[in-house]
Symmetry: C2
Subunit: 218 residues, 2 copies
């Protein structure tokens, strides 16, 4: 291919990547602020795309758009989680391992400039029956998460399996919805009386430690 054609081709790919990124950022914000019933057409318009079907062109269908938003944030969160696992090493301290479970997402969000939308987006995806499996699949694709869950399994109190499952589900719910709520409060009332990210992380680790160590009543 002559150099000129290659450069034209490169420029076209750059433009497509930039448009894709713009659609991802816009869709995440709209879903976070207005809900998953926002249409692809509304996303295209808000991203300044003259073509109403640009979401379809760049992502195929809605499921692929949601998957791409999830995957956009996975690598940096996974890097933080892997560091926490390395730091925890061989400790038997339940709080440290609950911390390695809880901390990656809020520490990543706190590191981003400006308001974030990903926690609220994630909460809606987690609750919507059409996307729930996708969100779980994305979360469980993390190698370091499996290490953490394995360590917690050995450290957590010995409970009958269905009760253990119930507490595991409660833990997952608090990990998702606590950050969605924290993000919402920060966005709506940035100067209000609220916990900062590290205080909120410590508060959730305390609460989960209490939840797991709670005695089982008759």
């Amino acid at each position: 291919m002559p150099a000129k054609a290659r450069s034209r081709d490169g420029a076209r790919q750059d433009r497509a990547a930039a448009t894709r990124e713009l659609i991802l950022v816009t869709a995440e914000r709209l879903f976070a602020e207005e809900g998953l019933s926002v249409s692809n057409r509304q996303v295209s318009a808000a991203a300044g795309q003259g073509n109403n079907s640009s979401v379809g062109y760049h992502f195929g269908d809605r499921v692929e758009l949601v998957r791409a938003i999830l995957q956009r944030h996975s690598p940096p969160v996974e890097r933080l989680r892997a560091e926490l696992v390395a730091d925890a090493a061989d400790t038997q301290d339940l709080r440290v391992w609950l911390g390695s479970l809880v901390r990656p997402l809020p520490e990543y969000l706190a590191s981003l400039p400006g308001p974030t939308f990903f926690a609220r987006f994630g909460a809606q995806v987690m609750v919507d029956p059409g996307y729930r499996e996708l969100a779980i699949e994305d979360a469980m694709s993390s190698p370091s998460l499996h290490i953490i869950l394995g360590r917690l399994d050995r450290l957590l109190p010995d409970l009958p399996t269905p009760l253990r499952t119930q507490r595991r589900v409660m833990t997952r719910q608090l990990m998702v919805f606590t950050w969605a709520e924290h993000e919402r409060v920060l966005a709506e009332d940035p100067n209000g009386p609220h916990l900062d990210w590290p205080q909120a992380v410590a508060g959730l680790v305390d609460a989960l430690t209490g939840l797991w160590q709670a005695p089982v009543s008759d």
Copy 2:
């Protein structure tokens, strides 16, 4: 008005009330199983209404439909909650008051015949930015809930206000999402190894007791 016209009028009102009820039940199920992005047109069709705009005719807009689904269940839940408040009387037992907070919804759902959808519907309404205020307004319209929250305020450990708020939010989230998940598991795997409703209620009260009594770390 002659007797015959009155009776024609009564029959028309009965038919309208039956159609309204059918749309409510259908919409709750579709929202629970497929998410809030299900359209009014899909709800009308699934309710067997030849007229695609029957949701609009009977409920005005989508917000009024969601409000009507919430309000359909409020009175029986409120009756159960008022009974629990009367039974708790003057006790200072934290578990009893957490129980009066947690038990009304699952005990109501457990009393219904067949599969239920309201908990999953409620979880989605609670997470969607467009309906969140409506769900909170509906919940807070319960007189007995205010009595319970006042009693808990005096019984719960003395914490700095933002941490207290964080634990209150976590409690609300677990009250909503625990039952949505329980309902989903019952629907998808009715014979699987899961807690029954009373065991799940006891498990949540135990977990919340541990969560509230957890010491605050530095």
